[in-house]
Symmetry: C2
Subunit: 404 residues, 2 copies
């Protein structure tokens, strides 16, 4: 008799987005004329830039005439793209094309990378957090059961106001450490010294860091590390994951890359070699036209398009944060990330309800990202500027230095 992977039963039901959707649709039913503004979304609001569209179309047209381009590609990604990434993103960091793997989205590799490690590994995860770090480890059997708002075996790293939302080194040993900078959901980025603490810890304790750099392109602060490999020794202890999603309009096109340096060894075994084998066994690569589109992000025209996209998102974020300041709200992030982490005067869900009903604004309740997200909401810059301005007008009409 076949049995289930019993770990699926340990997953907590994901009520966050369905619950938000239900509350929004209830409001629409009550007052159909409401113009609801979505400041909760974590998805792009700008379409795919023309130079990237052109590169993908050209690549598709090649497939009609040249069967060699339509065949199986390398599971780890085409050399042309891996080379371009090495040259543009890691030139002085000692990462070469052989350390770079093209994948179908940061989420997938973030979820799959844990497979390289023992199921008994102790996992350290920030709280609040992007849920995939947790859920992929639940399915793999590393977490134990969910009790009193926590998985028994996860070592949670509280990210709190009092420590600038930077996770502290835990006082129990951990094996696998998930770090996300710039951070989703708090919108903060780890400075050099904070990141160095973790690299030093990982080297001393033979731990591995999974560094989620999906929002790297949004870093504005000088000296904030763009890559974990800016820290000495990181190539011996860290895997870095980045994405074309937000910066280049690829959320639906699915293209990301994962860096597994050849220096990274566990029990004298090359983690890179294991990842190659994993890719060849369980993955078939990203479509050639999509990789050609990703390559175009590194062309002169492509770079210009991305600069424009990022500067528009940054401009939207500045509009949002200066507006929030003017009504006297307390918030964090929003400088090196497309998210702001707003302190709620009540519980996450109460404040969510208040914003939705009073101002017709959708936010994300922080409690949905973990217990230390309670008391916050996440707002995002992924909304047209005029929507952000309208939202701020509504908020200033309602609040104006009153709530906090």
């Amino acid at each position: 008799m076949v049995k289930l992977n019993s770990n699926f039963g340990k997953l907590t039901s994901s009520y966050l987005f369905p619950q938000i959707e239900k509350k929004v649709s209830d409001l629409k039913a009550r007052s159909p004329s409401s113009e609801i503004i979505n400041l909760g979304i974590g998805d792009i609001t700008k379409p795919l830039p023309e130079p990237i569209v052109k590169a993908i179309v050209d690549a598709i047209l090649e497939l009609e005439n040249d069967v060699s381009k339509a065949r199986y590609g390398p599971s780890i990604g085409f050399s042309f793209l891996r080379k371009a990434i090495a040259k543009n993103d890691y030139l002085d960091l000692g990462i070469d094309e052989n350390d770079i793997f093209i994948s179908n989205g940061a989420k997938c590799d973030i979820a799959n990378i844990q497979e390289l490690f023992d199921t008994d590994s102790i996992v350290a995860i920030c709280d609040p957090t992007y849920p995939v770090y947790v859920d992929s480890n639940v399915i793999a059997g590393r977490t134990g059961f969910y009790q009193d708002g926590k998985y028994q075996k996860i070592v949670y790293l509280p990210c709190e106001e009092k420590n600038n939302f930077f996770p502290k080194i835990p006082d129990v040993p951990v094996d696998l450490i998930y770090l996300c900078s710039p951070n989703n959901p708090t919108g903060t980025a780890l400075p050099y010294d904070e990141l160095k603490k973790w690299v030093d810890y990982a080297i001393q304790n033979k731990a591995v860091i999974i560094f989620d750099g999906a929002y790297e392109a949004f870093i504005n602060t000088k000296n904030t590390p763009h890559s974990i490999y800016e820290i000495e020794g990181a190539k011996k202890c860290a895997i870095e994951i980045r994405s074309f999603s937000k910066k280049a309009g690829f959320t639906g096109l699915r293209c990301s890359y994962t860096v597994v340096p050849h220096e990274l060894k566990v029990q004298n075994t090359s983690i890179r070699e294991c990842w190659v084998r994993r890719c060849e066994t369980k993955f078939g690569g990203v479509p050639y036209p999509i990789q050609m589109g990703a390559l175009a992000t590194y062309s002169d025209k492509g770079k210009q398009s991305i600069d424009t996209i990022i500067s528009e998102y940054v401009d939207q974020m500045k509009t949002l944060t200066s507006g929030l300041k003017s009504i006297g709200w307390k918030f964090y992030g929003g400088v090196d990330a497309p998210y702001v982490w707003v302190k709620a005067p009540s519980s996450s869900w109460e404040f969510f309800d208040e914003l939705l009903t009073k101002a017709k604004i959708i936010s994300i309740p922080g409690a949905g990202f973990g217990s230390y997200g309670e008391g916050y909401i996440r707002l995002s810059a992924f909304a047209p500027k005029e929507h952000i301005e309208t939202a701020l007008n509504r908020l200033s009409g309602i609040y104006t230095c009153a709530t906090q």
Copy 2:
């Protein structure tokens, strides 16, 4: 201290294709003027048809103007494609769009689907076999070590000449059964009665069948089941995986689909619900333009293109099999699949070497697919007709009813 997933160390090194490549490049070095013909390949030889190219290009152009199309799509696939598959491929079989999941290649889902089941499940796999069934279970820890040409815990199902290459029900209980029909590498397809034995076994023993139907479009024999769901009860015990790869030129574009019927329950839990959760946690969907291309395979023009492609491959296969017959070779398959399984007069590798050096033809040694593949080679119809004809001319010049 972090530890490796020790199961990676149990994988056998994949020498098959590197070894073939080395032998071919050695030959090229020795006699550079050799015109080598590749009859070993399992990849498309016809480019992407025009109606599909057009659909993908149109979809990419949409992304430039409509950001809603560029955003995250559903991890389980767009409804438009799932509906088209249900209507075109499963109309009378009781499978609806909610049972269908769009994936980035049959290999990926074949490798990932085992994750739904307990790591102690006993796995039954045909011998010879497509290696991904084995390797994905090795990584998951279900197989034990490799000793004397076998993994300790896998129940191998020998597919031999004496039983028409049909696997027999094993005399020990098994939980997860991998079946591939039409079969890679033997080129044979399971008739209704053979498939029914397995469905009956699975229902009686509460086992689950993973049915790999990647070559379904090549079935020519009347009454050979195209889907396992043609067998009564299969919806309660089987998952079916199909692909756009070979029939529509998608090997590099990565699009396939997996059917997990809502009737399929294990320990009273819906396997479909677990798969939904797995897709949402660890997968981000197939790019919208690729799904639009897959949709176009079901349009009138798309269907015509696929009929043309398949009939050309079938024609190539007929050329190959009638040529092999005329030189008196013993072989199997080649009717309902793009592969023939040729009996070797010597060992797999010896016969491979002989064909390569004497006739400059690349084949695949059967031993590379498992111990019961010893004594065979695999030839494929994935070669231009004129190449097949030249190969046959060479063979008839060398062999002509002599070897067997």
